[in-house]
Point group: C2
Chain length 357, copies 2
């Protein structure tokens, strides 16, 4: 989820003040977590460690997931001002999602032996942290439920929110398991890369927490929490989540590095990307052999050969067609929705449609 490429000045201003409010809530939540440690008589060093760990891992991303909760709440209040207290509550749930993401990423970087994250060394790579990061990641997870308990204990949706976060957490962990076991360690076996496998990983590992969770939080906070509405929202959000990840995979290969902010390495890293999955489903025996011989190699000549096959199969056009179809399909689904303002979904879709980063 990124901003539109050319946001209108008005929209940009709104997001800037929304972002300021969002950051102010972060400061509050972090201060409360540190103060909690005082009530457990924890030593200064422990309080400092946790404060630094939270600062290092929670607020440094693009914050789109977290900001979406308040956007959804605003869309739910057509023609009415949203009470300040409701925006603050939305920001709190937004931060729960950012905390959840931090929990996943700290652990994921350990499992993937990654080096950098958000332009700084991965948390576990700091010499004074190391594998303590495993415990730190689950401390971040525990903070979510402390935030919910402190700020939503008397809210009518308290149990619904707790169950939502637990459920999405479990689904994401199952998605991570699917991802981790989709390839044997250090074995390159492209036969395992099928579109079904790909879609299942994306749905569980990414779409639930990135798209469904912020929308569901906004709906629940607005009092639209019945199962039927949430189910419809889930279907649309999972569809968008898949589209978003496919864009991500395409940008990794074809995006402008100066725009996306990194040089993609999915081919070298043996990633189960939409591009390789789609290529394999369309390739001739000869092209398949080229893919198998050159995928997952760090040699630039091998990467170039993979990209030649992608070009010969005209994957850019396949993607453009997929993108148009997705937009039409998602829009159609949104149009069938009654009782939830369409802006909840169309704003989200507008933010990702044809994104370049």
């Amino acid at each position: 989820m990124t901003n539109t490429v050319e946001p209108s000045p008005k929209k940009a201003k709104t997001s800037a003040s929304l972002r300021d409010g969002f950051m102010a809530v972060y400061d509050q939540l972090k201060a409360e977590i540190v103060a909690d440690l005082d009530s457990l008589s924890m030593p200064e060093a422990t309080k400092k460690y946790i404060a630094r760990m939270v600062d290092y891992n929670v607020p440094g991303g693009k914050l789109n997931r977290g900001l979406t909760v308040a956007s959804v709440v605003q869309s739910m209040h057509i023609g009415k001002a949203v009470p300040e207290d409701t925006i603050v509550k939305a920001h709190m749930l937004g931060w729960c999602i950012e905390w959840l993401q931090a929990f996943f990423l700290v652990a994921d970087d350990v499992m993937d032996a990654s080096i950098t994250r958000r332009g700084q060394p991965c948390w576990y790579k700091l010499p004074e942290v190391g594998l303590n990061a495993v415990n730190d990641s689950i401390i971040l997870e525990a903070h979510i439920f402390h935030i919910l308990r402190r700020h939503f204990k008397t809210h009518p949706a308290y149990v619904t929110l707790m169950e939502l976060f637990m459920d999405v957490t479990y689904r994401t962990e199952i998605g991570q398991l699917l991802d981790l076991t989709s390839q044997e360690k250090d074995v390159v076996d492209l036969d395992k890369f099928t579109l079904d496998t790909y879609k299942r990983i994306v749905k569980y590992k990414t779409a639930f927490y990135s798209f469904y969770l912020p929308v569901a939080c906004g709906m629940i906070l607005s009092g639209v929490a019945d199962e039927a509405h949430l189910k419809l929202a889930e279907e649309i959000c999972l569809d968008m989540g898949e589209y978003f990840q496919i864009q991500d995979d395409v940008l990794d290969c074809y995006g402008a590095p100066e725009v996306i902010g990194k040089i993609g390495t999915d081919i070298q890293d043996n990633k189960c990307s939409w591009l390789v999955v789609t290529a394999l489903s369309k390739a001739s025996a000869e092209q398949k052999a080229i893919l198998k011989a050159n995928y997952a190699k760090h040699d630039p000549a091998c990467v170039a050969k993979v990209k030649e096959v992608y070009a010969a199969l005209d994957l850019k056009s396949v993607f453009n067609e997929y993108e148009s179809e997705s937009y039409a399909r998602i829009s159609e689904r949104i149009n069938k929705i009654t009782n939830v303002p369409h802006a909840v979904f169309t704003d989200l879709l507008a933010k990702i449609y044809k994104r370049q980063k």
Copy 2:
């Protein structure tokens, strides 16, 4: 928590049938978790992976924590038979505690680079697992809340139970952080080993989940869930937890290997054990120097020198005195309790008093 050294035949029989019932509930809970994956359309391989992961890590311990919930419930029903349904519910909570322990141990073994656990290789040491164990551990944690949701959703104490498990989880993670940061990596610095530090680590890392949690579950299930009663129970349980861990440390050095089932290595492993903490607090400058020169070394001659200092300081007698005082202090606390049958605590205390393993 182990059985008494010489259990009466009647008591032993009761525990055997209690254990059978407990194991039957495990089979049910595991089957439900696997069936859940069906409802998410997960592939056979994923279901098998999770079933094996649960079997490998959850039920293989001594199960004392888990069995304690039903024992507490039985103690709460003085002179009345406990309804079968209540025992089953108690076993479910007992398994939540065993699942929690599995979650901690799988992650702890990764962080400690341990080799074996419960007589088999640590889960992460299996070649097909490796660092996937980090994700597996948090899947085990998620199962706890799935069990609570499935079986306690309509129970009046549903929210209390969820909050209890979340709170104890967080406290244990903070205890793990205290433990991990009590020593710099690969640095031996005995000056950091103080009795205050030791007690804080034990309280948070061990006592809450091992002693307070099973008792609190039993009390809540019996309808005694007000804060004042739980607070009194907490004080007694944390006191017992500290005593239990100190016994553990003493048995590591002085226990009979054929009885405790392993050869202790706390001295070699630079553990912040009650023995070294106590020795440091009583040692002469000369004895301190011997400890500093020989602690945390894998050379048997060094281990022997440390044990000589322990002997010179007569730590066995110091422990015996501590044990008598603890027993008296805990018993006195129990005697002040009204409205909770004393057997809840005295049974637990009897199980650990003067234990040899």
